[in-house]
């Protein structure tokens, strides 16, 4: 999961699904631009998407696994050493993001797919597991960026729909 069906066409993997939807539908139903048409700006958006995959998501995934998945689904206790190491790793990444976001509202200046792909993992570790929100909130540029992205109507609505999954499925 996820899998997308578009008529007779099927595609898997979340980031390719997003790219496909942008390729096919961007500009057709509204004015939102998620991947710029300009090749240089698109290249930079890809670069920031790669940062999310390579540097941002790994420590967040470790925290999410330890503090949500392990106990709830596997009946394992969270490992405090892994949590500590993941927090340290994430702090270093957010230090880099703090500089990247200097003088900018979004990673590539204007809102793009790069900001969007950061949302789900950030939301889970910032919003559902609240002990780590300090990592974002203690860095002014990162704090502003996350609040700006999160408060976009579409983002807020989508993320809060997922919150009800966790709340309504306590006993899976």
């Amino acid at each position: 999961m996820p899998v997308l069906f578009d008529g007779g066409f099927r595609i898997t993997e979340s980031r390719p699904i997003c790219r496909y939807l942008v390729s096919k539908y961007q500009g057709k139903h509204n004015d939102t631009i998620l991947i710029p048409n300009d090749v240089h700006n698109a290249g930079l958006v890809d670069q920031f998407i790669s940062y999310e995959l390579s540097y941002y998501d790994p420590p967040i995934s470790k925290l999410f696994y330890q503090e949500k998945v392990a106990k709830r689904f596997l009946n394992e206790d969270p490992d405090p050493e892994i949590i500590k190491q993941a927090r340290e790793e994430l702090a270093k990444v957010l230090d880099v993001y703090e500089k990247l976001l200097e003088g900018k509202e979004y990673l590539n200046g204007e809102y793009s797919l790069a900001d969007l792909v950061h949302c789900p993992s950030t939301y889970y570790v910032y919003g559902i597991v609240t002990t780590h929100s300090g990592l974002w909130d203690s860095r002014p540029n990162v704090k502003n960026w996350w609040n700006r992205v999160y408060n976009r109507d579409v983002i807020k609505k989508s993320l809060e729909e997922s919150k009800s999954f966790w709340e309504n499925n306590e006993n899976i």
Partner: protein
């Protein structure tokens, strides 16, 4: 001004970009990094890569980093000047190429990278090889390659025709195949073996790995 690629000449991430440059016939200069400290300076971090990594591509004033992002940028800008198609125009085919790129990132590269680290890089750093990690990673890679064996049924390439998705798999597979004694994990699966053999027949592969 020629494109400049900054990287470690023999690292798989730099070679991923070199493969694309060679496939599309794009002239470039390789600025080989010899001392790791040069990519950790304040200047490099500010101007080239905030995480202090390579490869980094400089195309005139435009600087882009992260190997797969660089490859996509090169394809976007220069594929039209080449006869080689790495990324289809058709939106449905392109999205399937992206899907296979994601498989490489999610399922192929992680175990392969662990084997690479334990068998090559750890040794270079004077660290002991963790055989348990190697064993677990090879088991994980075996499961992935069993799935690839099915994906490649009746196909020479992941999406039918050669694409960026096949290319992305090659650099790490090349090192593990040639330098770690684990070639059998690929060769014992006929379709996977056929796929890698085909990738190695390409001129761009031969040019990249001759250097």
């Amino acid at each position: 001004m020629a494109i400049k690629l900054i990287g470690f000449a023999q690292s798989p991430t730099t070679r991923r970009v070199v493969l694309v440059l060679n496939e599309l016939g794009i002239p470039y200069e390789l600025e080989s990094v010899t001392e790791i400290q040069t990519i950790k300076t304040e200047e490099f971090i500010t101007k080239k890569h905030p995480f202090g990594k390579v490869p980094v591509l400089c195309d005139g004033d435009h600087v882009v980093n992260e190997s797969r992002a660089i490859c996509r940028y090169l394809v976007s800008k220069y594929q039209k000047d080449s006869k080689t198609v790495l990324y289809p125009d058709d939106v449905h085919k392109a999205s399937l190429v992206e899907q296979y790129i994601s498989y490489e990132l999610s399922y192929f590269d992680p175990p392969l990278s662990k084997v690479l680290y334990q068998e090559i890089y750890a040794k270079r750093r004077g660290e002991p090889t963790d055989e348990a990690v190697v064993k677990q990673s090879l088991e994980e890679l075996s499961k992935t390659l069993d799935i690839y064996e099915k994906i490649l049924k009746d196909k020479d390439y992941l999406n039918g025709e050669y694409s960026l998705a096949d290319l992305f798999h090659l650099p790490c597979a090349h090192i593990v195949y040639n330098a770690t004694g684990h070639s059998d994990i690929f060769d014992s699966r006929p379709r996977v073996k056929n796929w890698l053999d085909k990738l190695r027949e390409r001129d761009a592969y031969k040019k990249t790995y001759a250097e």
